[in-house]
Symmetry: C2
């Protein structure tokens, strides 16, 4: 592959000058700038990002660590992060931690090795020691972190409220909340609080149950849904903590001959594609994932520039009504 030197030689300039046009530094006449671009095209020159990063001590790569790739919520986050990164000339290094602390840690180390511009961490675990002394900004999405890392979340409390209010407004009298994983305290827990507060305020009967990590990994909640339905037979409204859970609630109901929305109303969370692909479609709480992704990338960009960034940003949620309620 052609190098800067080749370009310099071919264009009769020096490496210094060529480097200057490449980085928009110092004085450059329009004429030589064109000349350089022409030669670059002619030689099919591509700057060696490795060398660049080495010399600049930082790359334009952003590490993204998620606990799950196939899960539609994370697939959407990844997709929106990639788009936002592309718009700002960043590249995405993707890692799947599978929710495991040790893999998460290992991936952070790999990010260090690769001198990333920053890391975006989507996680369900809660460990903070390993995030000290990082030489790059770390942005957490939907996760609590202190220690100098910034966090991006959506208004989960309000999401829970919206769901409860909607179900109650539709006439439900006995509600059930099916949560995500239970092992750690995380922003999503506030969905439950919002939900319960509204139920209490409106004097509506309710119950909250949580699934487990294992179910989450497999995206297979059937058994627990069945058990919960057995345990709460009067239930006529369900608030599921994700659309994937909600989709499975629909299936279990169908199998049991429970008609949705006539006998049972269901509200999901996230508003990812499955929500619209089921029959009926799932009424859900929409997270502004795209905006959250853009905020995350932009925060890394600004933090790299030495700017201060807010340590916690919260985004609003909205209810999207479909056939399940």
């Amino acid at each position: 592959m052609a190098t800067l030197k080749d370009v310099a030689r071919r264009s009769g300039l020096t490496v210094g000058t060529v480097s200057r046009v490449l980085n928009n530094r110092g004085y450059i006449s329009e004429q030589t700038r064109q000349k350089v671009y022409d030669v670059m095209r002619e030689l099919d020159y591509q700057p060696n990002e490795m060398a660049r990063s080495l010399s600049k001590k930082s790359s334009n790569t952003i590490g993204v660590i998620v606990p799950h790739i196939v899960h539609p919520y994370f697939a959407k986050i990844i997709s929106d992060l990639e788009q936002a990164a592309y718009d700002r000339k960043y590249k995405i290094l993707l890692f799947n931690s599978q929710g495991k602390d040790e893999k998460e840690e290992e991936y952070i180390e790999m990010c260090k090795s690769n001198r990333v511009a920053g890391v975006i961490l989507c996680s369900d675990t809660f460990q903070t020691e390993k995030f000290r002394n990082l030489s790059f900004p770390l942005i957490a999405i939907e996760r609590f972190l202190d220690e100098g890392t910034a966090g991006i979340e959506c208004d989960n409390y309000r999401g829970g409220m919206l769901a409860a209010e909607h179900l109650i407004g539709k006439g439900c009298t006995c509600l059930l909340h099916i949560g995500g994983i239970s092992n750690h305290r995380k922003p999503a827990d506030e969905r439950k609080e919002g939900f319960e507060d509204v139920c209490r305020r409106e004097h509506v009967e309710y119950a909250s149950e949580e699934s487990s990590q294992l179910l989450y990994d497999e995206m297979d909640y059937y058994s627990i849904i069945g058990r919960l339905l057995d345990g709460h037979p009067k239930t006529d409204g369900i608030f599921a903590s994700s659309d994937v859970i909600a989709a499975q609630v629909l299936q279990v109901c169908a199998r049991r001959g429970i008609r949705v929305p006539e006998q049972m109303k269901v509200v999901g969370y996230d508003d990812v594609n499955v929500a619209s692909l089921t029959t009926p479609g799932i009424t859900t709480i929409r997270q502004p994932v795209k905006e959250m992704a853009e905020a995350a990338i932009s925060m890394i960009e600004r933090a790299s520039g030495g700017e201060m960034v807010p340590s916690r940003s919260m985004f609003p949620v909205t209810l999207v009504e479909r056939g399940s309620t």
Copy 2:
């Protein structure tokens, strides 16, 4: 961050020696090896991959270019590729081409710039000029490419056959195939051929229709499904070219009061998570995505080692029966 030099100084050795243990080169006593590892841990040393790649003229990063991230089929491919890459100490640079030629090209250039070990390309387009003179192996998944690039596909022809045979075996007499995008010739086209060949052989009435790129981008096939159903009112069996299409067929049927599987049987393709999240579950043709992903990564690894790799590998498919037939 600590450098090799720091480690050398701290352990009373030289950079050369430390580099030797890092790369398992030359003679090293167990004692110094341990010493070096200890110091590395003590200093929290992480080799600078930028410097390494620069010096070795190749990184342990693999570029993955997909036309879509949220689409469950690609989400699964990405997930399996990440896992396979991790097992072999590779990292994934993820790019979303959105099916656009120019972005695909741009991403290939970025991969060049980053001196990737190889690129895995999932694409629907068919352009070949830009893949010449690549300094790294390029593996195509589900796409035809010549010009010294390797291809991985699944037995689409047989998949089409399986679908048709299954529907006919279940008593369908008037079949409809809903294809993916039509603008380019690609392996998925053979699904249609397998399907049609069986229909002809069994003297069963059939029709094949294709959707468009636009629908594909949005994963929104409702309108075309409605139109196709209107155009082919006698249809009692549908073979959709992806599970996402199949899921929407289920919805359209539900809306029209067509009972699945009693009045209409539906077979999808891919066997991704949506297939099991719908009601009823979707009978589908399963692609061995995990094996395909492993093959792709392993081919890059072997090709980097100068090995010859097969230019075309085909994987078998199987039919997974669920409630939709």
